[in-house]
């Protein structure tokens, strides 16, 4: 049922409007010429703009990989900064095609928000950051502390659960955006800042003196972060899901942005399948045969993306840990491309 008249007159009146179709996201994106990707408002390592508005980060690279798979051009993206509060609305309303914004996969979001998580780009958990000068070594010593937290997140509820379970008192101070929360923590409005541990490392870089602050060892929740798409378009869901798996598979097979062309020429049956010289998996997805090559050339494999943005090669220097490949002690595991 199309109800376009009212909207059209509105759109005509206001001039600015974007259209997104129900079940043909891929076609809409191709017609529009860019992928519209919802990211955070600035979380170094995951998605943050520099002074000129160029976005970098793990979540950003996932979007770039999707754009590369569709257009063979990782720059054909419009990044839409979303706050924790309006991110789902933006996705539901079609303002963005994919939400790649350190969002936790939970059952309620999968079911009641009308969105699907396509996979896990980063296995995370909620942690605490405190000033070193407080001389606190464990989250269990935080009784009667003031805790800064971003509102509208699962973090807020985990926090309540954790303190209640450990029979500790605390004062919660909630802010609308991540930056406000960090700023309040830095200004001393609270003793503790809590969010996903990756976020703690990344926000620590935003503080004037990062070395005065430490992340406590406790992880109080499971926070698998990943990109989300709308319900109702399975083809688009598959594309985003398998873009992610392609990056992981590429790492597993040792395909990197540097050696992808050589690997494509090799006579390894698995490599041939993955890199599109054998079979037509890309076309079945609605993409082209060389989709994996496009992805890897544009952003590299999962390991490269991780290292460049949050891992050893970045200022955040987070250990791979759970995010290592399954055969190296981590949880990252991609179903086979066959």
């Amino acid at each position: 049922m199309k109800r376009v008249t009212l909207a059209f007159s509105l759109a005509l009146a206001v001039g600015l409007s974007a259209q997104a179709a129900d079940a043909q996201t891929l076609k809409t994106i191709k017609d529009r010429g860019t992928l519209s990707c919802g990211v955070s408002q600035g979380l170094p390592g995951f998605s943050s703009p520099d002074d000129k508005g160029n976005w970098t980060g793990l979540d950003v690279d996932v979007c770039r990989a999707i754009a590369a798979a569709i257009f063979n051009d990782p720059t054909k993206i419009t990044f839409v900064p979303t706050s924790a509060k309006d991110r789902f609305t933006a996705l539901q309303s079609g303002q963005i095609d994919v939400l790649s914004r350190n969002t936790t996969w939970t059952i309620s979001r999968d079911t009641s928000l009308g969105a699907n998580f396509t996979g896990v780009t980063y296995y995370d958990g909620q942690g605490f950051m405190v000033k070193k000068s407080l001389k606190v070594n464990s989250a269990l010593e935080l009784n009667s502390a003031s805790v800064c937290v971003q509102t509208g997140t699962t973090t807020e509820q985990n926090l309540a659960d954790y303190f209640k379970a450990n029979n500790m008192k605390y004062e919660v101070i909630a802010f609308g955006t991540n930056d406000e929360t960090v700023k309040a923590y830095e200004a001393g409005r609270c003793d503790v800042f809590t969010t996903d541990q990756s976020g703690l490392y990344s926000n620590r870089l935003k503080l004037a003196n990062p070395n005065d602050h430490m992340v406590l060892p406790e992880i109080i929740s499971k926070e698998p972060l990943g990109p989300m798409v709308r319900h109702g378009d399975d083809q688009w869901f598959d594309i985003v899901k398998w873009t992610l798996f392609a990056m992981i598979t590429a790492e597993e097979l040792g395909v990197t942005s540097k050696n992808v062309d050589e690997k494509a020429k090799m006579e390894n049956p698995e490599l041939k399948r993955v890199l599109g010289t054998d079979g037509n998996f890309g076309e079945q997805l609605g993409l082209t045969k060389d989709w994996v090559i496009r992805i890897v050339k544009a952003v590299g494999n999962y390991g490269e993306v991780f290292d460049r943005n949050v891992g050893a090669g970045s200022p955040l220097a987070i250990n791979r840990g759970l995010n290592n490949l399954w055969n190296k002690g981590g949880l990252q595991y991609a179903p086979p491309i066959r």
């Binding site: 005509l12 206001v14 600015l16 609305t89 303002q95 955006t177 700023k183």
Partner: protein, 506 residues
Amino acid sequence: MTDIMASSFVRRDLVAERPAPVKTTGFVGLLRTRLFNSPTNILLTIVSALLLWFTIIPSIRFLIVDAVWSGNDRGACLAENAGFTVGACWPYIQAKLPQLIYGFYPEAERWRVNLALILAAALLLPLLIPRLPVKGLNASLFFFAFPVVAFFLLHGGGISGFGLSWTAGLLELFDDSIVSAGHVLLSLSKTSAIAPLLWVVGNLIVLVGIAIRWLIYPLTWLRDQLQGTGQSVWVDFAITTAFVSLIAFVLGGGIRTGWRALASSIATFVAIAMVIKLMGLDHGGLPIVATNLWGGLLVTLVVSVTGIVTSLPIGIALALGRRASIPLIRIFSIAFIEFWRGVPLITVLFFATYMLPLFLPGNFTVDGLVRALIGIALFTGAYQAENVRGGLAAIPRGQNEAAAALGLSWWKTTSLIVLPQALRHVIPNLVNSFISLFKDTSLVSIVALFDLLGSLRASFSDPKWSTPSTAFTGFAFAGIIYFIFCFGMSRYSLFVERRLNIHRRN
């Protein structure tokens, strides 16, 4: 005679000069009469002087004397590097100035913002100075032409058709809506108790829809032909010009008196053609800059100017509706006005951000900035309606009756007699509303738009400039900007008020 002259009661010598009365003018007079004329006043004066001393001196010290004027990062503004207690950290403003004015607007495209601002100033200033002529043309340029031009200038993009295509598209969509409503009724008729009735009505509506489709077929056919040609915009434009000008000519009185209307219509279209050609709208226009890149003072001004331009017509319509004698329209206007005036703006913005998208078809999204603009226009419109109503109430009944005696219709009475007088009465109130609108634009920063205040707040979280005085410096800068705009407007409103009241004073 002589004895009188000589009599002793005539004074011979001059009366001694009395001392001059205490001077009550000038500086000394001021001191004497207004500052030190009684013990209480002396005490008050001393207390106030102390108060000023302890507020103004530190402010000046902070802003100028102790300020740091150059540097590359926070190092320059830290006391241990500068060697003294640091006041304002101006290099921080310098570094963030582009962000505070343009947001993330691409550097290569910022000339467009500047041009739009210059255009706005060039149109607005003559409008504000009462002595300058051609107010009507000036006002219509500012209220109608400027928003369109500014939109294409700031946002970019082009047009693919003109009047003909738009009309055809709109009619087609309207027709679709009618047909689909008919189909809804038909599908309902399968289950409903009053099935036959629904079936008949549904089929009737579908028939009407199909009839309309045939009626507008020439139009849509023409449009489709136009889309095929390479110069669709210009052909469409020529057709629209010819059509509208012809109508203007005929309505203007045909061969006898219609020439004037014809000339002005053609002149308008020539001007539009020049704008289209100049901005290249016929082939894509300027590169699109999405509104999420806009920020800083640009957003503040865009929101307030749009609010001003859109709220006035809404306000006038609602005010007239509230005074209308037709019951439904009056009740609707009252309810509408009281609703928006009864809720805080921030809930209106929440409404526009979170609820409005649910009311639109699922495959439509409206830009975040536009959503906020819709909310602000409705909100301010309700306040303007009350201002305008005040003006309407001040018009004596005699004016209406005189117009009726001349045989003028309601529209003519309202637009030619009542509204011009009423609006002139309430200019100061309107300007005051604009001041509060300008201040209220800062609220859009709560719904994730980066206006001046939002950009300022975002800049606080940059670790490169995090110093103890950063926040104070930023607030001082933004405060001065806000003060200049609001104070300027309030002085202007006073000036107009005084001008309007000249005849009452003498």
